[in-house]
Amino acid sequence: MSAEQGTQGAAEAPSGGIKSRHKRFLWIIFGLAFFAAIVALVLNAFGSSITYFYSPTQVMNNEVPQGRAFRVGGMVEGGSVVRAGDGLTVHFKVTDTAETVAVVYTGILPDLFAEEKGVVAQGRLDDHGVFQATQVLAKHDENYVAPEVQAALDEAHKTRAAQTLAQ
């Protein structure tokens, strides 16, 4: 179930055959080296392929990493979807009800993409503050909202409520 168990097996099972202390020591070294290699492999892979998720509010507050891909999620703002002349490039706005982010995507949108529905876009911000999406995900049915989207909306609402109280 985990990497530790794996190495444990490697170090342990042949012990029936290898009696001497010296060989056992070698096996332990080998096991540790194997374990280290796996950890390095996993960390390296994680480093390059984890995408953080941000809400439009966080994007507008500049809390997002520069020059690195991330995900932004919220609802597609009603009436914001505009198709460019080539028919494949789509402009739309993602909102968490507090802030909105402009998104551009070229390609075919998923079936479930619709205005007033949840959406998650992956890509990066360009110099003009427009989110250049490489992937658009719309995974929901009529009574399901992606949890990230839900959390972003809840968060925006909380801040809004706090602001109202402060005024």
Binding site: M1, S2, E4, Q5, Q8, E12, M75, G78, T97, E116, K117, G118, E142, N143, Y144, V145, P147, V149, Q150, A151, L153, D154, H157, K158, R160, A161
Partner: protein, 178 residues
């Protein structure tokens, strides 16, 4: 002895995982309570759907337990929860206020004519500004508000038989006795 300890590793790994699963269940998005629960319902002043010149406010319902159901004619799952609302309306246990959300009033009236009107009162939030105050992210959403105007419960997504019988009706009964 050393070997015995090694054999315990799988069990320990599982316990760690199980701990995270318990935490993960708590993180379930559906259970994230609305920040509004236990707080007064946001103030609003909206036109009556059936009589646009009449304005309705949350103060009209002080002193009674009521449900605020946020819906729209374009919302598919509002249709699925409609029978449950109609059933609740028949019991006359509670006032149900329907708030038409981001929709044209005429579409809403037409929809109610077609499917039947379960609401004690209907209001129209055409541009969705009140909906935002209530933290509405989609339709349908339903808020249960007590006699003092405090939000007691929020249902995200359609109300079904189970939610109605196991959560909403018992809570209404309890709130009414207070």
């Amino acid at each position: 002895m050393k070997k015995k300890l090694l054999l315990l590793i799988p069990l320990l790994v599982f316990f760690v995982l199980a701990g995270f699963f318990v935490a993960g269940l708590g993180l379930n998005p559906r259970e994230i309570p609305s920040p509004l629960i236990g707080k007064p319902a946001p103030a609003f002043l909206l036109p009556d759907l059936n009589a646009p010149e009449k304005m309705v406010t949350e103060k009209d319902f002080l002193g009674q337990v009521w449900l605020l159901n946020v819906w729209a004619s374009w919302c598919v799952s509002c249709k699925t929860e409609h029978p449950s609302l109609a059933e609740l309306a028949r019991t006359n246990e509670v006032s149900i206020v329907g708030m038409l959300y981001r929709d044209k009033p005429e579409n809403g009236s037409e929809w109610l004519r077609q499917h039947g009107d379960p609401y004690t009162a209907s209001i129209a939030d055409a541009n969705g500004s009140v909906g935002i105050d209530f933290g509405v992210i989609g339709t349908p959403e339903t808020f249960l508000i007590d006699k003092q105007g405090i939000i007691r419960y929020k249902q995200t997504g359609p109300i079904n038989e189970e939610v109605l019988n196991k959560k909403i009706i018992p809570m209404i009964k309890e709130l009414k006795q207070q």
